[in-house]
Amino acid sequence: MAEKGHTTVWPGIAGLAIATGYLIAMLGAEKQNLIIILLAAGIVAVLAAGWLGLLETVSASFVEHEDALAACAIGAACAVAAVFHDNHFVLLLVITVLLYSVATLGLNVQFGYAGVLNFAGASFFGIGAYTSAVLSAYTSVPHLLVLLIGGLLAAFAGSLLLLPVLRTRGHYAAVVTIAFALLFKTFLEVNDVLGGPQGMQVKGMRILGWSFNDNIEIGKILLSFYMNYFVLSLLLLVGAFVLVRRLERSWIGLNLDALRLDETAAGCFGLDIVRWKITAFLIGNFLIGIAGALFGIVGGFVAPNNYTFADSLILVSILLLGGIGNPWGLMVATIIVVVLPEKLQTIQEYRFLLYALMVIAVLLFRPEGLLPRPVRRYFPGWRP
């Protein structure tokens, strides 16, 4: 596709519009049969589009006109929210997708760019959530600041792991984070101050007197109170996305890539390995922590069972399914992984099993993920 000359922005917009329409239909569907039919239709449509070469056109368009299409994607998210403006459940689902995307973006910086393993994603997410629970219960810290503190605390907790993570490699580093994930959940369960196994309530958000937990009435239209959180989550996601994308394109991203591909060679070329690993690990945990803090407030409730090792593995599955290192792929994968078990109630119980099988299949048959990371473009729009 690329050598045929410039692709226009239209295939991308068309693809996005179709995907949005499909998503709205999927979210709106209530009957299990309808959902299964929609799902089958979606899979067939994607396979057919792939066979006809349409997917390549769309992805080429995305690569060429990323900024314009990113704006359209924000519009698409708003459109989805507008359609379901009074539906609590669907909006909560959309918010979950947005916040999980932020968390996996953080994980992406660690896994995808720097190659630092982190199998305790859900734990850092939990640190954020518990931060907002504790701070809103015992203090009157402004709520926007709570989000920031949640991120900072997650980064701080991550920095406690820095020494072992930095001194170890590969499998060994994985064990450090797995041990931390188990430690964290046990700690939450036995700690009475944090509510023990029952967890804690989290108060709703309030910014400058504007209570986030009240429904909004504009004239005759009633908006779900989740709309507040939707806007905030979307802003957070856009911020995180821009940050990660800029990071990837910058010299920092280049350094991180070099580090991941060959640590020794990167060291020989004068890159400060320790420094960049720390940077990636902390930025990643910060993003995960912020997302967790907001998620704790949105859910109104935190409990140890939501932040187990299995949940960390789900975050990693999203990363792998989407294609490690590709932020767009991550979002597609997050939508699949979060929405599907919620809509298909029959598979809800089996979701850990299904995700694990899915990742095994991806690793065996398509190790680069659904949307592989494209080759780095040093200059946007430049072509050889």
Partner: protein, 306 residues
């Protein structure tokens, strides 16, 4: 502290250490031949324990009530089934990914562990709840002051020692052991010497997984209860033990297992806060040891693998 109480703690520590050591030896074996970490090892242990339990239920239904006979059949079935499972895992999941990045092997075995764990939880009848495990060993005990020496613990400890000695003999004194060590040391040279690489890898995985099943049964007999999560815990602990000892060395794994159990016991006895924090303490110690000695206490003779 009273000598009897101390002896009690030492005994408990030895029992835990034996289980950890058996799991850790498996990790070391796998790492030796393929240079991979098989994170599903702990969950193979779970499946082994549940296979033994299912065998027990089956034997009961057939009306066989001799506890020794039941125990032997359970052990044989669980060990053989897990040995087979280990071979299947090695053949179809681990070996195809040999040329892929290490992360992929790690992920595939982690996810396989999830599949095994969740399968037990979902498909074993009421697998989500802890299951009582039959106490099949004689329950006699001798009271020595504060110290209550239970016969079943002594038997399990002896069996564990015998298994470890047996593995040791197998690795150091037999032709098969020589082949395993040769593959571990240098795969290509081993191949040129006419060693069937694939077969040796499969045998090693069978051996390690069989050990896991043995440890699983032992865990069930010791606690008289199993649940679907024991494997994740024992797997992480066993792996930590293998790393503390130094991956690739059998002695290191055994040492690491007992050391870890010792730390845990000390954590329960000596620390000021409640024993509910014993796992928090144990994992914190693992993380600290990894920071202090990233490649283990006993270094490998050939350190290029690290």
């Amino acid at each position: 502290m009273d000598a009897g109480l101390l002896a009690q703690y030492v005994m408990n520590g030895l029992m835990l250490g034996m289980m950890y050591a058996l799991v850790a030896v498996g990790f070391t074996l796998f790492f030796g031949v393929l240079d991979v970490i098989k994170f599903s090892h702990g969950d193979v242990l779970t499946v082994g324990a549940f296979a033994a339990l299912a065998t027990y239920v089956g034997l009961r239904m057939l009306g066989l009530n001799s506890s020794w006979f039941e125990l032997v059949v359970m052990l044989v079935v669980a060990t053989l089934a897990m040995a087979f499972l280990g071979m299947v895992i090695a053949r179809y999941l681990v070996m195809p990914l040999r040329s892929a990045p290490a992360l992929n092997t790690l992920l595939i075995t982690l996810m396989l562990g999830t599949v095994l764990r969740e399968s037990v939880r979902l498909f074993y009848p009421q697998g989500a709840n802890p299951k009582p495990f039959p106490a099949l060993l004689p329950r006699a005990s001798i009271d020595l002051g504060e110290f209550n020496l239970r016969l079943d613990n002594v038997l399990m400890l002896t069996a564990g020692v015998l298994v470890i000695v047996g593995i040791q003999y197998l690795l150091n004194r037999t032709k098969l052991g020589l082949a395993i060590r040769a593959v571990a040391q240098d795969e290509e040279t081993a191949r040129t010497m006419g060693i069937n690489f694939t077969a040796i890898v499969l045998v090693t995985f069978a051996l390690g997984s069989g050990l896991a099943a043995f440890a699983g049964v032992m865990n069930g007999l010791y606690y008289n209860e199993i649940n679907f999560g024991i494997g994740l815990y024992l797997g992480v602990v066993g792996f930590s033990a293998a790393i503390i000892g130094g991956l690739g060395s059998i002695y290191g794994a055994i040492l690491g297992g007992f050391l870890f159990a010792g730390l845990q016991t000390i954590g329960t006895v000596m620390l000021p806060f409640a024993s509910a924090y014993k796992d928090v303490f144990a994992f914190a110690v693992v993380i600290a040891i990894m920071a202090w000695r990233p490649t283990g206490l006993i270094r490998e003779k050939i350190s290029e693998r690290v």
